[in-house]
Each structure stands twice: as C-alpha cells, then as structure tokens.
C-alpha cells in the first residue's frame, strides 16, 4: 500500500481479537470479527459495539457558531436547543450533497455552548476544505478538527443502554432520542448521545483517545459483542439509512434521496439554498427506492434496475438481509417506477431477478425512540 492507513486508538484491540482489517476511507478498520450475521443479530437482539473513531469530529466554539453552521447545512441550526442533535446535509451551490452530518449543540460544565459536527470519514478533508474559507472573522467562531484527539464508539441494540449505563454518570433514560450531553464516562470527561446508525436504540460515546480502550473493554466484558463495518452496513441498509458514496453523492440532491425532512428552506440561506428551492419544484429526477428481491441472489452496487427489459435505474447498495432473510437493495429509479408495489427486475450478473418497490425502512424496531 502506498500510504500508511490511519489507525484508531482501538486498532490493537481489533487486530488481536480477530478483526479482519480493511482500508476504509484511509483508515484501517475491522470489517468483521466473527461473522457479519452473528454481529448483526447481536445488534438486533442484544447489544453490539462499533469503533466509529474514524468518523470526523469538528468542534465549533464562539458566539458565532450557530449562525455559521446555519449558513452551511440544510437544516435549521439556530433554534437547536442545548442537548439537541440534528441530522443535516451539507450541499454545494448546485444542491448536490457534499456530506450527511450530525450537528450537536452541547454545553460544557460551565454552561457554555459549543457545537460539534460529525462527518463521514471519507468526506472529512473535503468538508474541512469547504468550511475553512467560509469562516470569516465576523462570524466569531473557531473550528477545530478533533478527530484524532477524541475517539468514538457506538453501543447499539435493545440492551445497549443497560450495558452502557454502569459506565456513564448521566442516567441514559433521561436522554431523549437524538439528544446528547457531556458527562463522566468511566471516570473520564466525555459526551454521550442517543444516536446510531443501525435502526436500534442505543448510544454513541465520545471520549479522549487515551481513555477509549478501557471503556471499550468494559463494554465487551459487560456482554456487548464487537461488530465491524460489515454488520454496520447490513444494519443501516435494513434501517433504510443512506450511506455517502452509495445513496448520496454530489450528483444527488436531498429531495431525490427522500431526505426532505432534513431540508429547511423557509426564511434561511445556506450554500445550495437557491438551487434547492428550484429543485424542490422540479420533477423527473431519479428517486431513491427500497427493493426486495424474490430470489436469494444478492443485488450489488451498480447493478442495473429493469422494467420490461429496459434499464430504469441502478442499485446503490444491496445485501442479503439477515433479519428479513431476503435480498434487499436501495437504488435510484426514474420517478414513474418509484411507487411502492412497482414490479421491477434487477440484472444480477446477466440474469434478471424479479424485485418490487417497498417502503423504507425495510426494518423498523418495535420499541421506543424515533428520530426528531
């Protein structure tokens, strides 16, 4: 390999516990430790643990932070209360998606506000380069990339909060979904949030790079199963969540992706706002859909989606769903083929497999917690 891969502070643990390490966005990350299905099922039925330290963490300080962030993401930031976390998009001037991010409004021990933006590992450099020149002194805001100083782990599953609670000072049941707060975590200062990327309840923990190994081991000892990027992908796919580089790209706008909820156009301006005002009124662009395949052959990224033998779209992600025990896919199709129930086919290596459009998500948990 030409360049050395970045390592998270948990790299040695992964390597010594059977983690199959792969290059993911320039980071050496575990794709699985045992089997994807075992790690997936542990998340759906009990609790699992993901190292997500590779994700970019950008911190914003200063009274100008909310105004600045409000000018660069699709979702309103200025009315975000302390503790509130919102999913938002960063778009370019044409309305194309540069990244999908979480924006956190947090408070330090002294009651002072600061903000955090968690970005995809693959987009971190791009987003920093996009934001940096827009940080005029007038905004009175400082941006710092704290990705390497802080580590981040996700504890996910119906037992996640129960297993994490002994380590976390803050009572987790007082934390609403998509909320987060500073607290003590295994005696160290950190941030806990009721967020995740699996479709299950759970939390994400941010602690200092030097403290994370102890937190991770305590969670493993408590019974959470370490899970890799393979299960993270099958879980998010079942949950109908888009992944940047697959469902999202600069060639896709938020309305095509079905992410209207993350776009606030009224009485605001941000990069891409005017393009999105126009795009919202336009029709005819391919739309993101969920597809269930009749057979067991698995649709993969790039496979053509067919109607009556004609190509009407293509697959952006596909897998065999361990929970549904069916092959599932997300992709983009021309709008006349996007209605739920539409019978289509997917060209799986030269042979058409019948499929039909289903509502997203493919899987929805039955208990508490909805995205706000």
């Amino acid at each position: 390999m030409a360049t050395a891969l970045a390592q998270t502070p948990l790299h040695d643990w992964h390597a010594s516990h059977g983690g199959r390490m792969v290059d993911f966005a320039g980071w050496s990350m575990p794709v699985q430790y045992t089997s994807i299905v075992a790690e997936h099922s542990a998340t759906r039925n009990a609790a699992s643990l993901f190292d997500i330290s590779h994700m970019g963490r950008l911190r914003f300080d200063g009274p100008g932070a909310p105004g600045f962030l409000d000018s660069v993401v699709t979702r309103r930031v200025t009315d975000q209360q302390p503790g509130q976390i919102r999913y938002a998009l960063v778009t370019n001037a044409d309305g194309g998606i540069l990244d999908d991010v979480l924006v956190y409004h947090l408070q330090d021990a002294g009651g002072g506000s600061y903000w955090l933006m968690v970005v995809n590992a693959s987009n971190r450099a791009k987003i920093v380069d996009f934001l940096q020149p827009q940080l005029p002194l007038a905004f009175d805001v400082d941006m710092s990339d704290v990705t390497h100083d802080w580590a981040m782990i996700a504890v996910q599953g119906p037992r996640a909060l129960e297993l994490a609670q002994p380590l976390v000072e803050l009572p987790l049941d007082t934390l609403k979904y998509y909320h987060g707060a500073e607290t003590r975590i295994a005696g160290h200062g950190g941030i806990v949030s009721r967020t995740g990327y699996t479709g299950e309840d759970g939390c994400e923990i941010i602690v200092g790079a030097r403290a994370v190994a102890g937190v991770w081991q305590s969670l493993v000892d408590a019974g959470a199963m370490a899970a890799g990027l393979g299960a993270r992908d099958t879980l998010r796919l079942e949950a109908g969540m888009p992944l940047y580089g697959h469902e999202l790209s600069e060639a896709i706008d938020p309305f095509q992706a079905g992410l209207d909820f993350a776009v606030n156009l009224k009485d605001r301006t941000f990069t891409g706002h005017d393009a999105l005002v126009r795009l919202k009124q336009q029709t005819g662009r391919p739309q993101r859909v969920g597809l269930v395949v009749t057979g067991k052959r698995v649709p993969r990224e790039g496979f053509p989606i067919l109607s009556a033998g004609n190509v009407v779209g293509s697959v952006t992600s596909g897998t065999f769903s361990p929970t549904l025990e069916q092959s599932i896919a997300m992709g983009y199709v021309a709008p006349e083929f996007a209605a739920v129930g539409t019978e289509l086919a997917i060209d799986v290596r030269g042979r058409a497999e019948s499929a039909h459009v289903v509502p997203l998500p493919f899987y929805r948990r039955t208990t508490k917690g909805t995205r706000t």
Partner: protein
C-alpha cells in the same frame, strides 16, 4: 475426507478422484475451508445441471455471501454426473464439513492432464499463507 488426501486448485476448489465401476475416473469437487472462512455468511449457491460439459478453468456456478459473490471454477475437464442440490438449503452447514458433506459436483473426467496442475495440501497451504487473510 482428510484434506491431506485431496488436490487443490489455485482458485480454492478441492478435487478427489476415484475410479467408478465402469473404470471411468470421477472427480468430486468442493471448496476449501480456507475459501469458506474468507467468505463467511453464505446465502446462496448455484450449481450446474447434470450433463453439462466443463473445461478446466470454466465457471460452473457461484457462491454468494452477505458481502461478496465468487464464481466456482472447474479444476478438471469432463461432464457433470452429479450435483449436491440439497446444499442450497443447508448452506450454513457447509463450513463445518467442507471436505465431506460439503461436496458440490462430481465430474466424469474426459481428460486427466488438468490434474497435473493441481496442488497437494502442503503446496495449497503455502499458497493460502501467502494470500493471508
């Protein structure tokens, strides 16, 4: 069967050759434990129809896991005389007995020269060690 008694292809198929009652050579073909461990989470297998003739190196089926699909390549020349069709419904058991109940197809050899190209277990293990995980 013990893997030490088998021959292996570069593409991770194993081969066991026997002589049937008519004196013809029949090769039983499967996938190595190494390949199955790399795949994990099997979801689908497709095998050829009985009677199909195969050349060495020709794809005769596919095996799919949650994360990837692999073609299966014939390590020999000949005609398919039997396929292990029940495997499709018990794929999860394949990794536990890859060299026994994990057989995929039986091929009646039309030519034995391809066997010369196959590796013994020691040579195959060396290849696997070089590929790493």
């Amino acid at each position: 069967m013990k893997p030490e008694t088998l021959l292996f292809s570069k593409t991770h198929e194993w081969v066991h050759v026997e002589t049937d009652s008519t004196g013809a050579k029949v090769a039983t073909i499967g996938i190595s434990a190494f390949a199955l461990e790399a795949l994990t989470d099997l979801v689908y297998i497709e095998l050829p129809k009985v009677g199909r003739t195969l050349k060495t190196g020709e794809a005769f089926g596919e095996i799919e896991s949650v994360k990837a699909v692999s073609d299966l390549y014939s390590p020999v020349d000949g005609a398919v005389v039997a396929t292990h069709d029940s495997l499709a419904n018990e794929l999860e058991s394949l990794p536990s007995d890859p060299y026994g109940n994990g057989w995929l197809v039986k091929i009646k050899l039309s030519d034995e020269t391809a066997l010369q190209e196959l590796m013994d277990y020691a040579a195959y293990q060396k290849q696997c060690a070089e590929e790493g995980h």
